[in-house]
Amino acid sequence: MGTNAVATEKRWIVDVLVMPKEGVNNPEGDAIRGGLESLGYGDVSSVRSGKYFRLWMDGETEDQVISRAEELADKLLANPVVQAFSIVSVTESFLPESEAVK
């Protein structure tokens, strides 16, 4: 195992969405809505703006990667006082050979 640990570990692409919680002011979203209205998109009645992160993570299983991603999102990517995060997608990414060898 030890010597080819890198080769057996998989790499994943994890997308995380962070949005302001309900009831938290989002002046950025309000400003964007105003901009859309002046562009003729009055049919947009509300905009909330958040952040989108794409992480490249190493891990054995999808479950393991998801739980690590949730942990780090709760610790750093989102401030749980005012924001909520969701793991949007987890897909396996195949390491290019040059990286697998290291």
Binding site: G23, V24, N25, P27, E28, A31, N79, V81, V82
Partner: protein
């Protein structure tokens, strides 16, 4: 023993030297700049987290500074009851570190506000407000883009009931009007303290108002308070 103040300097802090100058030159107190990688805070009897843009405000103001090596020692210091003052970005760092409740959001106007404002002193029983007069109005400078204090209603009610709202934005006569709230803070909150009362955070800059040459010296009493608290052994 003469007390020594430690001012934690993060990458991107810009109010750190202002704080050192205010304490050392204007108040004549021994003060040292403390590198964010320092973990031994035993030489200090009071700590200041200064204003600025630590780590470029990336992700959220204070979000990355919270994990700086010095912050674990700041937490220990605070948990032992040591007086900690977070000014502007320092306040943001303290909320991100959960040493103070709530969060600071983008100003409602979406504009950076650099101006003089007034705050009303709501409580004086903290080590950083002991020299202030209850209900008095202070004129202090602000300079921030993310200063809208937010907490859910339950937390706000709890803070009010426990007397943890220390400063509120107001007019010069002490009345609270929408106009006097520069950033859209919940319930006009400009500064709060921890449950243990020893950690205080505020958006205005008392360290930039310690000499009449700077316009007014209303901030001086905030900085001086901590030494009165120490001599009282509080």
């Amino acid at each position: 023993v003469t007390p020594t103040v430690g001012v934690i300097s993060f990458p991107g802090s810009n109010g750190d030297d202002d704080a050192v100058q205010a304490f050392s030159r204007d108040l004549g107190v021994s003060t040292r700049l403390v590198d964010y990688r320092e973990t031994d805070l035993s030489p200090y009897q009071a700590l200041v987290l200064p204003g600025g843009f630590s780590y470029g405000d990336h992700l959220r103001p204070g979000a990355i500074a919270r994990f700086a090596p010095a912050m674990k020692s700041v937490r220990d210091f605070a948990e032992r009851g040591g007086p900690v003052l977070g000014i502007c970005n320092g306040f943001q760092v303290l909320t991100e570190a959960h040493l103070l409740p709530g969060a600071l959001l983008r100003n409602a106007s979406l504009r950076f506000h650099c101006q003089r404002i007034c705050v009303r002193v709501e409580h004086t029983n903290t080590p950083w407000t002991r020299c202030l007069e209850l209900n008095s109005v202070l004129s202090l400078p602000i300079a921030h883009g993310d200063g809208a204090y937010f907490a859910d209603d339950e937390t706000l009610d709890r803070l009010e009931a426990a007397g943890q709202v220390v400063f509120r934005y107001c007019e010069i006569d002490g009345s609270t009007t929408t106009r006097s709230n520069p950033n859209g803070s919940s319930r006009f909150i400009a500064g709060i303290c921890s449950e243990g009362r020893n950690v205080v955070g505020l958006m205005p800059h008392p360290e930039r108002a310690t000499d009449p040459l700077l316009g007014r010296a209303d901030g001086r009493l905030i900085l001086e308070s901590v030494f009165h608290s120490m001599s009282l052994g509080v």
